[in-house]
Amino acid sequence: MHMTADAREVSTSASGATATRDIYLPSERKIISGGGTPHVVAKDFSIYYGEFEAVKKVNADILSKYVTAIIGPSGCGKSTYLRAINRMNDLIPSCHTTGALLFDGEDIYGKFTDEVLLRKKIGMVFQKPNPFPKSIFDNIAYGPRLHGINDKKQLSEIVERSLRKAALWDEVSDRLDKNALGLSGGQQQRLCVARTLAVEPEILLLDEPTSALDPKATAKIEDLIQELRGSYTIMIVTHNMQQASRVSDYTMFFYEGVLVEYAPTAQLFTNPKDRMTEDYITGRFS
C-alpha cells in the first residue's frame, strides 16, 4: 500500500462516531461547526473492471458536510471511485468490487442494499450537462415525481427552491415551460445540480462538472459549490488543481488506482507529504 501517514490519520481519526479534531480551513471560509462525522467510509475498497483493478484498496473517510476534491491524472481511478459511491458503475457489466464501502454505516454494495434508495440520497452531476429533453420544470420535477410527489403546488415549490439553491431561478423563472436543451451549457449544468438537489440528497457527487464549460460558467458552478457547502456532503472530481484548491476542504490524490494522499486541501497543496503528490501538483506530470 502506498499511502501517506497523513491520509491514514484522517481516515482513522475520522472513523469515530463524532471526531472533533480541528479541521484546517482556509481563513476566508466560514468554519463549519459540528463537522467531522464520517459520511462515506471506504475499507480496503477495490474496484475491478473484469481482471483490471482500477481502484486499489482505498481506506478513507469522507466527512459529512465538507467539500472533498479528488484529483489525479487521467485514468487514475478518481471517477471510478466517485461513481462507485452511488453505484453508477453498476451500468458496466464487468465492474465489481471488493472490500467495503459504507454510507452512514451501511454497506453500499451489501446484498440487501436498495441502490435506487441509495441514489436518491447520493445525487450526482456529470461531466457533460445532461438535462432531459423536457421542459425546465419537468427536469427539476422529474426526481420528486419519481418519489411520489404529484401535487402541482408542492412541485412548483420544490422547483423554485431547487432552482434558487442552484442560483438559476433568476435566469429561468420566466421560461420554466421551455425545453431545457435551449439553455446554455453553464445553465444546463446548474439545472442538473438543481435537478439533483430537488430529490434532497445528502451527498452530492460532482464528476468534473466544469470540464465542458467556459471560465465564466465554471466560476458560477464554483460559487454554487461554495453556497452548498455546509448543507451537503460534496465530492468533486476535477482535473483543475486550482479549482480543487478553491472549492474544497479536503483533497484526495489518486495515482494509478491508489489513494496516494488525502489531507486538508491547503496542507496538500502547500505541504504535500508524498513525492508523487508534489510532482503532480507542481505540474511535473499530469
Binding site: 429533453p133 422529474y142 436543451l181 435537478r195
Partner: protein, 448 residues
C-alpha cells in the same frame, strides 16, 4: 497514391454515383408514370350515359329528371338502330334457307358486339350478370368496342413459318346488298349520341363497393381490408416488437443465448414472405384455429410475425441511439430501471421507433403472399369491425394480383387494377410521409 490519381478516382466515383442515381430515377419514372396516369383514369375519365345509368341503378346516385331527359335523347338514336335490326330480321325471313343460314351466322356476332357496345337489345331475356345489363360505361373503352363492332378480327395463317397475322375485315362489306349495311355507318356516326360521353369525376371509385366482381363500382372493400390487415398487424407487432427491443437493449446479458436470439431475429427479417404465408395457414388457422378458415385476424397475425423482426431492429437502433447520459441522469436521481426506460429512454427513442413502425405498417399494407392463404378473398363486400375475427376480406395487394392474372375479364377493367395500384402506392407513400413528419415533430419537441 499521388494527388492526380486520387483526384481522378474521386471524380470517377462521383460519376458512378451520379450514374446509379440517374438509373434509379429513370426506373422510378418508368414505373410510376404509367401507374399514376392510368390510375388517375379510374377516377377521372370520360363516362357515358351507361355509366350514369349504372350509378343510378346500382348505387341510387344521380339526378332522375336529367337522366330521364338524357335517356330520351339517346333513345331516339337507339330506336333507329333497333329499327334497322328488326328490318334486317324481317328481311332474313324472305331469304332462301341457305342464304338465311349464312347471314344468320354472321348476324349473331354483330348483335353481340352491338350489345357489348350499347347495352341490351330489345327482345332479349334480361341478363343475370350486371356486366351484361349495361353497354360501355367508359368512352375510351367504347371506342375500342366500336372498332370490334365495325371490323371482324381475322388471322392470317398463310405463312406456316411465321406467327399468324391479325387483320380486320369490315363487317359492312359482309352484309353488302342487305338493309343491315346502313347500320354500321349509322352506329359509327351516332355512337356519341347514344352513349353521350361526358367528363366524369367518379370519387365513388374509392368509396363504393364493387359490382359484379370489379366490372363496375369501386374498391372500398379492398382499401378497408388493407387498412384492417395492416393496423391489425401493427396492434400485435408494435407492442411486442418494442418490448423485445427493450429486452435486448436493456435487460439481456451478452451471451450465447442472446446472440442466438439476435441472429434468429435477423434471419427472420430475411425469410421470404410466402413462407410466412404458409406458416400462417399452418400455425394460426390449422393448429391454433384462431378462425374457421381465412380471416382478418389470421392475416393480421401472419403479417405481424412478418414485420416483427423489422420493428425489433428499428426499435433497438432507436433505443441504442439515446444518449447514455439520459439514463445516467435518471438513475442518479433514484429512478428505477423500469421508470428510466418508461419516462426517459422510450420517449427519447420514440421518433426512431415510430419511423420503424410506420415503415413496417407500409410493408404490411403492401404484402401479398402472407395473406393469400390466411385472409384474402378476390371478391367480397366491406366487412364490419365485428367480423374481423371470422371473415376474410378483399385487400388491395391481393386483388391487384388477382385482377392482373386471374380475373375472367381482366382486360376489360385494367383501369380498376391501375386504380388499385395507385391507391396502394399512395397509401404506403402517405404512411411513410406521415412517419417522416411525425418524426420531425417529435425530434423538434425533444430538441427544444
Amino acid at each position: 497514391m499521388n494527388l492526380g490519381t486520387r483526384k481522378i478516382l474521386d471524380r470517377s466515383f462521383t460519376a458512378v454515383g451520379f450514374g446509379s442515381i440517374a438509373v434509379m430515377g429513370i426506373a422510378l419514372l418508368i414505373v410510376l408514370v404509367p401507374i399514376i396516369t392510368n390510375g388517375v383514369g379510374s377516377v377521372f375519365f370520360t363516362g357515358t350515359l351507361e355509366h350514369r345509368k349504372m350509378l343510378f341503378n346500382e348505387f341510387g346516385r344521380g339526378n332522375t329528371e336529367e337522366l330521364v331527359k338524357e335517356n330520351a335523347v339517346s333513345e331516339v338514336y337507339r330506336q333507329q338502330i333497333y329499327g334497322m335490326l328488326s328490318a334486317f330480321e324481317s328481311e332474313l325471313e324472305t331469304m332462301d334457307a341457305e342464304k338465311k343460314q349464312d347471314y344468320l351466322s354472321k348476324y349473331g356476332p354483330v348483335k353481340t358486339a352491338l350489345q357489348t357496345l350499347i347495352g341490351p337489345l330489345p327482345g332479349e331475356a334480361e341478363a343475370i350478370l350486371t356486366r351484361y345489363k349495361y353497354g360501355q360505361t367508359r368512352w375510351g373503352k367504347a371506342e375500342e368496342k366500336l372498332h370490334e363492332f365495325l371490323y371482324e378480327t381475322k388471322w392470317d395463317f398463310s405463312n406456316p413459318d411465321a406467327m399468324s397475322k391479325e387483320y380486320f375485315v369490315s363487317r359492312a362489306t359482309e352484309f353488302e346488298g342487305t338493309s343491315l349495311v346502313k347500320l354500321f355507318p349509322f352506329v359509327e356516326e351516332h355512337l356519341e349520341d347514344v352513349l353521350r360521353p361526358e367528363f366524369t369525376v367518379y370519387w365513388g371509385f374509392l368509396t363504393d363497393s364493387s359490382v359484379d366482381s370489379h366490372i363496375f363500382g369501386g374498391i372500398w372493400p379492398e382499401i378497408q381490408g388493407t387498412f384492417f390487415l395492416a393496423v391489425g398487424a401493427m396492434l400485435f407487432a408494435f407492442p411486442l416488437g418494442v418490448i423485445a427491443a427493450v429486452y435486448f437493449t436493456e435487460y439481456a446479458r451478452e451471451g450465447f443465448f442472446n446472440s442466438i436470439l439476435r441472429s434468429a431475429n435477423s434471419t427472420l427479417a430475411g425469410v421470404p414472405s410466402i413462407v410466412f404465408g404458409l406458416f400462417g395457414l399452418a400455425f394460426f388457422i390449422n393448429t391454433l384455429k384462431v378462425s374457421e378458415s381465412k380471416s382478418v385476424l389470421a392475416g393480421s397475425l401472419t403479417l405481424a410475425i412478418m414485420i416483427l423482426p423489422t420493428i425489433i431492429r428499428a426499435a433497438e437502433e432507436a433505443i441504442l441511439s439515446v444518449p447514455k447520459t439520459y439514463k445516467e441522469a435518471s438513475l442518479s436521481l433514484g429512478s428505477t430501471k423500469w421508470n428510466t426506460i418508461m419516462t426517459v429512454i422510450l420517449p427519447a427513442a420514440l421518433p426512431g421507433i415510430i419511423t420503424g413502425g410506420v415503415i413496417s405498417l407500409g410493408r404490411a399494407a403492401g404484402e401479398t403472399a402472407p395473406i393469400i392463404f390466411t385472409a384474402a378473398v378476390s371478391v367480397g363486400s366491406a366487412i364490419g369491425l365485428a367480423d374481423v375475427f371470422s371473415s376474410p376480406t378483399p385487400a388491395l395487394s391481393w386483388n391487384i394480383y388477382n385482377l392482373a392474372s386471374e380475373h375472367e375479364a381482366a382486360a376489360e377493367i385494367r383501369h380498376v387494377q391501375y386504380g388499385m395500384v395507385l391507391s396502394l402506392v399512395s397509401i404506403v407513400l402517405l404512411l411513410n410521409l406521415s412517419a417522416i413528419l411525425l418524426r420531425a415533430r417529435i425530434s423538434k419537441k425533444l430538441k427544444g
